[in-house]
Amino acid sequence: MKRFEVIQAGNVEDCLRALAAHGPEAKLLAGGTDLLPQLKNGLLAPRYVVDLSRVARLRTIDLDGGRGLRVGAAVTARELELDQGVRARYPALAESGALVGSVQVRNLATVGGNLCNAAPSADMAPPLLALEAEAVIAGPRGERRVPLSSFFTDVRRTVLAPDELLLELVMPAPGPRSGGNYLRHTPRRELDIAVVGVASQLTLSDGVCARARIALAAVAPIPLRATAAEQALEGRPITTELIQRAAGLATEAARPISDQRGSAEFRRHLVGVLTRRTLTTALARARS
């Protein structure tokens, strides 16, 4: 790594001050699992690194008495994986946390880092998209909320301005008779990056699908929702045939590229397989 200065922020105001002073020359550091490899490989060479890891506000998980979920941006993947409340009510999110890297990486990697790094393959993006999370962003002009579906703008690009900071993710409780699931395909079982990731989130009402959310990773420049597939499910009783149809529509929503992790053809195929499987599990969870 080349040389840089570190600003250790004690609170959100410290961060904002540092960003106001050095924004374009500064990079935010939380878990470091995406930032440090980029610094080491020379892809980034900031003059300042602002360390967020001690900002208490960014480190909390709050179930808000069952009304919804707030996840601080510096909550680690491992914390999401192990949190009993998240596992019980937001299983797709806990599952995505459990899949990042290895345990040594999950103890460092944060949800905010996963989203702000904005890799198309970000594991936590699909479940958060499917849970209709909003990003709470702090900046010199105060806080603003952006639906996660508008957060990503391109490969490794987000709506965050250089002087802004992702504070937390907030999302409503899925409600009764809801279920979710996140699956990804990787050639190895651990220590890998999603070739394709799919999250499905279902809510049932009177035997029909009241709400369906399906989100895909690593099949487009940004993580995206498969809205046509969602609409095909909503208002109907979910059958094997309907799931198959939704999987087909999700496949059509994918716009994958071929790279070292998989071909576009294989990725499209996987979207169908994983959509079918996550919907099946989400349905079983919603019914139980």
């Binding site: 790594m1 080349k2 040389r3 840089f4 200065e5 570190v6 250790q8 550091l29 878990g31 470091g32 699992t33 440090l36 490899p37 610094l39 080491k40 490989n41 690194v49 360390d51 890891s53 491992r78 890297g101 290895s102 345990v103 040594q104 990486v105 103890n107 460092l108 079982r189 651990e190 220590l191």
Partner: protein, 157 residues
Amino acid sequence: MAKQALSFTVNDEAVEVLVQPWDTLLDALRERLGLTGPKEGCGTGDCGACTTHVDGKPVASCLMLAIQARGRTVRTIEGLGRLGALHPLQEAFVRHGVPQCGFCIPGVLMAAAALLAENPRPTPEEIRYGIAGNLCRCTGYTTMITAISEAATAAAR
């Protein structure tokens, strides 16, 4: 860009050391404190050779800046056990002749120790996932799984 003082606890001792802002925790341990047990196999968190406990949790110390460890409690392989008073995991690794080239071994042991602290009686499958972040090119992992299982069983008795 001056060196900064870092105070933290390493292997049960309070330590103060000067580090560069860009030093990783692994750099500080190896280059500034002479604790060369943790190894750098990749520098990007993909091999586990640098696995170190921070506040009891296993982390890839190559991905953490040293000054992020201020005030924290760090344990390296040097603090897991020592010659003459080996940790049960180390005993089992020696008995089963696990180390070959030996480069991955400190990281594997730290991952295994963290696993057993959390889950004292893991199944072989749980052990396999518990050390899945640690690549080994010599052993094929089989003897590691046996040794970790045995150390867990012995500790539980």
